[in-house]
Symmetry: C2
Subunit: 320 residues, 2 copies
Amino acid sequence: MKEYNDYLELVNTALSNLRLPKQPEGLYAPITYTLDCGGKRIRPVLALAACEALGADPMSAIHQAVAVEMFHNFTLLHDDVMDNADVRRGRPTVHKKWNEETAIISGDAMLTTATMLLAIKAGSHLAQALELFNGTAMNIYEGQQLDMDFENRCDVTVEEYMEMIRLKTSVLLGCACGMGALMADATFETQLKFFEYGVNLGLAFQLQDDYLDTYGDPATFGKAIGGDILNDKKTWLFIMALNEDKSGVVKFLIGQTDSPSEKIEAVKAVYNELGLPERIHELISAYIDSAVKCLDSLALQPEARAFFMDLALKSATREK
Amino acid sequence: MKEYNDYLELVNTALSNLRLPKQPEGLYAPITYTLDCGGKRIRPVLALAACEALGADPMSAIHQAVAVEMFHNFTLLHDDVMDNADVRRGRPTVHKKWNEETAIISGDAMLTTATMLLAIKAGSHLAQALELFNGTAMNIYEGQQLDMDFENRCDVTVEEYMEMIRLKTSVLLGCACGMGALMADATFETQLKFFEYGVNLGLAFQLQDDYLDTYGDPATFGKAIGGDILNDKKTWLFIMALNEDKSGVVKFLIGQTDSPSEKIEAVKAVYNELGLPERIHELISAYIDSAVKCLDSLALQPEARAFFMDLALKSATREK
């Protein structure tokens, strides 16, 4: 097994070797711009590491790993149009830097390119790789649609929320792990266990994201704190507070935009009153435990187990 | 060989048997709505007919035919958002009936669904089918981008225009024919000839579309005549007129919106002066001749040859 950064380098090298066409510039320049955004590249790293953990050369999964990363960046690009977001990782979003038409068509081209990458050297695994990839993609669209539907609802349950984040963000981490296992010629059962590990990791990751949006250190987290509260975003914290807050403060503040910092403080006070920061970490721990159970059932070599264990623990305690 | 309408019925039956999920409704209802728009379904019909013309059961290509139709409808959906079009085939476009976010995400789901359909019972042809399909998709995005780039240019050459329509609309007809041939286990050479037939058919088809937008009978054509002229759309007619019109009237009228019917009449007068209606039909005939040459080189059975011959001749003389 390698270190995280070694896998990251393999991914970044493969990305810089993509050599997309140059023309028409309006189609391809935004793709390069989007991929240049950096980021942790956790999905392709998971794919390569899963592949190596099962005894294969991680490079057997490199094209599929890059396909997953390409797909992820496509979803960010189209999500930014749908959310009308101005900034992503400190840079203007594609539809701000260029325009909306460009963001739509370049995103479409990224989705097709992802499918093309998936097929490179997939050999006898092509049909299964495609099935895993496309099934995951449909889940992600469903999750994104549910997330948009939740904006107009005040009766979202915690169960609905967990299903939404499972679809929207977690299955892609599962897909990355399962893809690495598939490319390592693993059995379907092993692929499935690695998939489940990734889904649990993703759920823990997303819940920690919800936590950090309210409780993170702005300097470390890299974006303004309290954005979810200001936008009445139906996160785990917000839904729990809506359900349990007898004072009615949270419900009352929905749609209020006059005093942003007071709104954040008032909602946060309810979260604290209800012990939600501790309770969300109990939940995160439970998902990490599930991820570890999947790892244990895989009976990996100690070094490989440690790699995935470390990732799971870090995602539960990360501060950015 | 069957009649056009028999293939059409096979396609429509397959489309109505798709059984997409019902939830989330915001994601799937727009897909059903888009597919319900009717239309000639020329692409999937070409795929089934090509398959049967080469001696195979047309149903061997049914999933791939429907994949091509799904892809085509996805491009219409996203094009309508990019063009901000209100109406498609007499009904509100998806982004008008729902909203833009819905149109984007439902379109993405259609593209992934198309790839899923492509893989069904593709067997040993999967890798090739995917390569043909994805390569075609990239061409189409490039064509769409060029079309958007042309909006802001007055120096578009006829060669650039022909390349744009080849990419944006013709290769998909080529892909449909090639896909049918592939699913009939044809040699690569045969697939390629059928592909070329489709591309030439598509070029003739698009040029006739340009012609009808100015010279069609509004009652038959189904939309207002002169829309391309009003929007200064860089069609073959418009580009030729820009190049050859010594009076400078066409160039002068670019951007003018005050007197729509006068503008249409003035530009049309230049077209007539330059003999463009006759010249575009000479060009259309040349593409039909090329399509027929491809057919001849395929040495099909007389009945099969007649089917594709008939389609080619009809697309050159169609009035809607």
